[in-house]
Amino acid sequence: MNIILISMILALAIPIYEACQDEDVWQKMLAFASIASKTSIMILVISVLRDDWMIGVVGVLILSVGNAALMLLAQIIKRISD
């Protein structure tokens, strides 16, 4: 289980690096969407690892509300850049 978590953190480092080095706003949005879904899955894994129901609820909330917020942010960026 620890190995799974470490490899997940390694996979999470790729979009973080991409968000830091790329200047284009859509590439950054893409990296942020990837970071959001990866972190919420990591929260779910940790909740099963610790056998804690409450952490899992937080993960599912981030999974649903965070993606909706990213969608709204994309719309706002498009409106501003038009």
Binding site: I4, S7, M8, L10, A11, I14, P15, Y17, E18, D24, W26, Q27, M29, L30, A31, A33, S34, S37, K38, S40, I41, L44, V45, V48, D51, W53, G56, V57, G59, V60, L63, S64, N67, A68, L70, M71, A74, Q75, I77, K78, S81, D82
Partner: protein
């Protein structure tokens, strides 16, 4: 036995994560990256959650909700991101 299957599922899911996230680093178009990311990321995440579901079947309402929101939201988000990014490109040129 079920424990081993869940570990294998999670391993395949993490492999999918790396496979889908690796093209992010290169200098390709946004749509190419979006395609690889949305397909492989959603599939990998769903495999990991199914692995967790096999490991602890007691928490199935939460994990089924996670799978459903992954399947719906990542598809919608991919569509919206593709629509927004391609639209600004057309007006930009």
């Amino acid at each position: 036995m079920i424990n081993a299957i869940s570990y294998v599922l999670m391993g395949i899911g993490i492999f999918f994560w790396f496979w889908g996230t690796w093209p992010l680093v290169g200098h390709r178009s946004v749509l190419y990256k979006l395609h690889s990311l949305s397909v492989a990321d959603t599939l990998g995440s769903m495999l990991i959650v199914v692995g967790l579901l096999l490991k602890i079947p007691r928490e199935w309402p939460l994990l089924v909700l996670a799978i459903l929101s992954l399947a719906i939201w990542n598809t919608v988000l991919g569509y919206v991101l593709a629509y927004c990014s391609s639209d600004t490109k057309e007006t930009g040129t």
